[in-house]
């Protein structure tokens, strides 16, 4: 549970957004993975992929497809979008093959990196600000009641409310890393990790 690394991640994602990068990598840890998945669930990231120090090839570019086949593939996906995620190759999807989805994860854990796809809309990054709440020197624990207030823009327990439009706060709870509103639904409390907006 290293908040120092989380601080680095926050800074890095802000910088990457500013530089308008498409893909960035962060070190792999349970915290990072769960947090990034949470971010993806909220819509801040487009993809979260485990890879090596080299960026993974984008899914679409892993094989060149014949234009006619490409059209057919597009039509099939339009009708059944869930087919893109099926592990088994099927006759309906000639262009997609599971074994082509290359995942070269190194054996050495130190060489593993988590690759994140960043999003941009209307010339603005979707993930613009990412700020730590609990710091390595001071941890912030919030109850369910505190979170009820915070999600309704009121400050509680020395933590400011979520006042920016579409602001999210992630906490680490017994049930894993959840967003503040999810915690309020489940009436959970936990340690506040970071707040994200923009």
């Amino acid at each position: 549970m290293s908040l120092v690394n989380l601080a680095h991640v926050c800074s890095h994602l802000q910088n990457a957004s500013q530089a308008r990068l498409g893909l960035t990598s962060i070190p792999v840890s349970k915290l990072h993975v769960n947090l990034m998945l949470g971010l993806q669930r909220e819509g801040f990231l487009s993809s979260v992929t485990l890879g090596s120090t080299v960026p993974p090839k984008p899914y679409i570019l892993q094989t060149t497809v014949d234009p006619a086949q490409h059209e057919k593939l597009a039509q099939t996906l339009a009708d059944a979008p869930w087919a893109a995620y099926s592990p088994e190759p099927s006759e309906n999807l000639p262009g997609i093959d599971a074994h082509l989805h290359e995942l070269s994860v190194p054996q050495n854990p130190a060489r593993r990196r988590l690759w994140l796809g960043l999003k941009y809309w209307n010339n603005e990054p979707v993930l613009k600000h990412m700020k730590l709440i609990s710091k390595p020197t001071r941890r912030v624990w919030l109850t369910g009641e505190d979170l009820s207030k915070i999600t309704r823009t009121r400050p509680s327990s020395y933590v400011k409310g979520l006042t920016h439009p579409g602001e999210c706060m992630f906490l680490t709870t017994d049930r894993g890393i959840l967003e503040a509103r999810e915690c309020v639904e489940r009436r959970l409390g936990g340690m506040a990790l970071c707040r994200i907006w923009g």
């Binding site: 909220e42 819509g43 809309w121 209307n122 439009p165 579409g166």
Partner: protein, 427 residues
């Protein structure tokens, strides 16, 4: 007794005989200087010129005939008339023609005028004084009987002006009947307003003087000149002065003047700026104005000129031209908290619940009011430079992130819980 006789010099001029004056012969070709200077008082006039001169004198300065002299007796006293006649006989009309000159002194009239007629525009009207009214001057207010009689008299007088040939009687057409009634009403109205009907005096001339414009201190109204030039240049008092810059702006925006007047414009920053040139320091006035329609449009404009009015007008036009839409949550506040920085000036704007009001500094207050925001809180933690505060607030308000856009960007549904779940309640 010794009587001294003054010694008279024998050499003095009186006693000695004068020597005989010898005739001197003139040795000069032309006349000597003293003789040359001796000119006649009047230059010699030729006989033909004399005839023409006589004719001109007759036409320009004719002698009075009997009827004209009778008129003179009405104006002047007999002694005055005698003096006038004596002067006229003494002065020869021919001399007036030959000797009179045009005035060149600075106090002359700039136009040719013999001043015999009173010009209603240039000259002050002739006014009479109370001394010109013969008889006693005392007058008092009218009683009802006298007033009625006076009104009747004056009404008849006024009606006579409408119908100088007499009032038409007998069978009248409805048109004529209507006109007669209108004339009678107008004459009656004029009579009631006439001062002659309000006052009574034993001397009728006193009462007549009340209505006489020559006795009145009120100057008569100027005559209405009618010619093509005057008609072309005549301007209605309701017509406003046309500003070509404003006209162009309205054309560009496709607005009418009424809409322009509904825009709230306020000049927030005014200060002098100096430009150092070869010629020296040139001082200009800088203006920063905001313009808003109080319903979601806000613009900020700057203007600078040596003349203050010019700079201000420039800034107003620029502000109106730069108006941009400002998104508002429930048309009263911003969408969430905003933060913007211009230079060293950071501005933080916070959304507030309904009824909160604009609790901000004066510059942000004006901007919010012009934009149509009603609930807002603001902070300027760093520099409070007026210009930059205004610019930062404007940028922040115009570049808000809408929940709609955020939803599209993230691919998630964003719901206004306050509206949907809590029914718009705040607490």
């Amino acid at each position: 007794m010794s009587v001294c006789r003054p010694a008279r010099c024998l050499l003095s001029a009186g006693f000695l005989p004068k020597p005989q004056a010898t005739p001197k012969r003139s040795l000069h070709a032309s006349t000597i200087r003293p003789a040359r200077r001796r000119r006649p008082h009047y230059p010699s006039i030729k006989a033909e010129d004399l005839k023409l001169l006589n004719q001109a004198a007759e036409t320009q300065f004719p002698s009075y005939d009997k009827s004209e002299t009778n008129i003179l007796s009405k104006r002047y006293t007999p002694s005055q008339i005698a003096a006038i006649k004596a002067a006229e006989t003494a002065i020869d009309a021919k001399d007036l023609l030959t000797q009179s000159q045009l005035r060149t002194d600075p106090w002359r009239l700039p136009y040719a005028d013999d001043l015999s007629e009173v010009d209603p525009i240039t000259d002050q009207p002739e006014k009479l004084s109370p001394e010109d009214i013969p008889g006693p001057h005392a007058f008092r207010d009218n009683n009802d009987v006298e007033r009625d009689a006076a009104i009747a008299r004056v009404t008849n007088e006024q009606l006579a002006k409408f119908y100088p040939d007499g009032i038409p009687d007998g069978e009248l057409s409805p048109e004529e009947e209507r006109k007669l009634h209108e004339a009678m009403d107008a004459a009656f109205m004029q009579a009631t307003l006439d001062p002659r009907t309000s006052f009574h005096s034993s001397n009728p001339r006193t009462v007549a003087a009340l209505a006489d414009p020559r006795h009145s201190i009120v100057a008569p109204s100027l005559p209405r000149i009618e010619n093509r030039m005057v008609r072309q240049t005549r301007r209605l008092s309701s017509e406003e002065e046309e500003d070509p810059r404003q006209k162009r702006l309205l054309q560009y925006l496709d607005w009418d003047k009424k809409k322009l007047r509904s825009i709230r414009v306020k000049t927030l920053v005014v200060h002098g700026v100096t430009n150092q040139t070869r010629m020296g320091k040139i001082r200009s006035m800088y203006y920063l104005t905001i313009a808003g329609n109080q319903d979601g449009l806000l613009g900020v404009g700057e203007g600078k000129s040596v003349e203050p009015d010019e700079g201000r007008k420039q800034s107003v036009m620029a502000a109106i031209r730069n108006m941009r839409p400002v998104p508002r949550y429930e048309n009263r506040t911003t969408f969430g908290d905003l933060e913007w920085k211009v230079g060293a000036t950071k501005v933080q704007l916070m959304a507030r619940p309904p009824g909160f009001g604009l609790r901000t500094q004066h510059l942000i207050f004006e901007l919010a009011r012009a934009a149509g925001l009603q609930d807002l809180a603001a902070r300027t933690p760093r520099s409070r430079n007026k210009m930059n505060v205004i610019k930062a607030t404007w940028e922040a308000l115009c570049n808000q992130k809408l929940p709609d856009e955020i939803a599209r960007a993230r691919g998630k549904k964003l719901v206004d819980v306050r509206k949907v779940y809590y029914g718009g309640s705040v607490h």
